[in-house]
Symmetry: C2
Subunit: 340 residues, 2 copies
């Protein structure tokens, strides 16, 4: 039996295309001492994967040419020589874009909770890196407090939608989304319950943010960078906090747009602070409890965009940049892998 | 007797020129109840004055057309109806560009300490807004800690030179300046004792900063913004702190250069934080004690650039942007005003 894998053939310029990746058959991995063999079920398609394809400094080394594309994912343990994992456990971690993965000391997986009444796709969305990023970014990095006027870009996205809903549940003064296009903006308000949503594709973004937040923005959760970040900087309130989470507008860009309003941080005594969700790994359990409760009682609405077939993972990644996805994008490698 | 004043005639585009200001004779101000009349001695010429001339949002309202140019300065109390001031006190505050000023409830002055053995120009430099900005920016906003690799732009300037010297005295791992031209860079190393100085006018700034700080920058004190900020962002270490103090490269700019490397804040979990020294007014006394001691025992070297004559204040302001000044720029309105 072979292990189908998607590897990096050459580094992309802009969007990923045919020449970026190769679909290959490799030998099945062997489960060594203290290791477990995982049959991959779902892949988590995240914007950060695109950054790992560049030969540029990052929070993780670039993916090597010829290496399997690094990616989060979940699967079921089918063989185990490790005390950490039991056959039948559903686990989440760095599977890579492939059908079979090895859990080891250097590549640890989290065993997912069963019996919560949440399906695997939901858990990978709200309780996965996406939801955890929203939780720690808003509450810890952004030091959210009741009454804050909160603005979130990528508001229809998997992380942004959860940020706004947590802010709402915790008593934000106002929650304003930024998204691309009328359909997404409607979704942000109707489905995710934001007070308002501003379409970044329309003109006069700075002015429209001013109208939405006449007293200024207390907390801005930035998923996109570039011009949108610049427009929010022009509208920050005193002691504003900007959570630097992502810069999706820049990941495919060959020429990056510059941010010109950084001086507003001086005028308004503001701060921009970056983070990576892995920094909070020791506190995931506390977030899981609250996030699960919020999903179960309906305070967090969520949506998953399932793309069938490992071979479509590159297209699924591009969806994040074209805005063609709705909600958390997951690739179904093996639909038999389920949580309950 | 008249009060010579410099007022804002029209808002400048780029550098201040003949048409920007008017030199006028106004009636002597009258010292009302709870007020004091101040004979102005020295004006503090700071880059921020240029920002107040723009019709743009700032931390203070723009200077109105026809109003006296807002400015720090010092003088001697010649008449007082206030318990706060006694005739003969030398005071520091917002004098404006004029020969006579009024201290009032809405425009309070600080009485300067006599008998320290420090002359008025030195006190206005190191113990004035410039030195206080260096002190609180480095130690509080930047949360400086022993061993930090510190980079300071505007390193030959009044604030930057003090930042580097405090960092040195407090045990920085390395202190690297950024300044414009060979002469200033020499001064930064020879006179102010920085380990190294990088000339921003030469090519490959990002690369040269990397050579100077191979393990990355722990703390960057930004006085200039724009391209220099961008080059330092590309070189930040993990958990780096960027102190947003000024953006002198942008104040005269009609088109502002964009910062493209803000994503480094995510990769390196860094932060950019802005401040205004006024926020620390309640703690000036603690800084005065330490800064005075450091000047007296030679740990802080300093330099004042004296420009004689109120009428030359606009030219003095331009010097800050052409780099034609050496050290803290002060305009001598009346040389008879002395501290000792």
């Amino acid at each position: 039996m072979a292990n189908r894998q998607i590897t990096l053939a050459q580094r992309p310029t802009g969007m990923v295309d045919q020449s970026t990746t190769s679909l290959i058959d490799s030998p099945m991995p062997v489960c060594g001492p203290d290791e477990a063999l995982i049959k991959v079920g779902l892949l988590s398609i995240d914007p950060t994967i695109r950054t790992w394809m560049n030969d540029a400094p990052g929070y993780l080394p670039p993916i090597g040419i010829g290496d399997v594309i690094r990616s989060g994912g979940s699967g079921v343990v089918v063989e185990s020589n490790s005390e950490r994992y039991h056959v039948g456990d559903v686990v989440n971690g760095m599977t890579g874009w492939q059908e079979w993965a090895i859990a080891s000391e250097s590549n640890k997986f989290t065993v997912l909770p069963k019996g919560l009444g949440l399906d695997l796709a939901t858990v990978m969305n709200v309780l996965g890196a996406t939801g955890l990023t929203a939780y720690f970014g808003l509450l810890d990095v952004g030091a959210f407090k009741e009454g804050d006027v909160v603005v979130v870009s990528g508001a229809a996205g998997a992380t942004g939608s959860v940020v706004g809903q947590i802010a709402r549940a915790r008593g934000a003064g106002k929650v304003v989304g930024i998204a691309g296009g009328e359909e997404k903006c409607s979704e942000v308000v109707e489905k995710y319950g934001f007070d308002e949503c501003v379409d970044y594709r329309e003109a006069r973004l700075t002015q429209r943010l001013r109208e939405a937040c006449p007293k200024g923005i207390d907390l801005y959760f930035d998923n996109v960078g570039g011009d949108v970040l610049d427009a929010t900087l022009a509208n920050i309130a005193m002691h504003s906090r900007i959570v630097m989470c992502g810069a999706i507008s820049q990941y495919n860009a060959t020429e990056r747009g510059g941010v010109t309003n950084t001086s507003m941080l001086i005028m308004r005594r503001g701060q921009m602070k970056g983070f990576i969700v892995f920094d909070f790994a020791h506190r995931y359990a506390e977030a899981h409890v609250e996030l699960a409760a919020m999903v179960l009682d309906g305070r967090i609405k969520h949506q998953e965009h399932l793309v069938p077939g490992l071979e479509h993972a590159p297209d699924a990644l591009n969806l994040l940049f074209t805005g063609g996805n709705h909600g958390k994008t997951l690739v179904v490698v093996d639909e038999s892998v389920q949580l309950d």
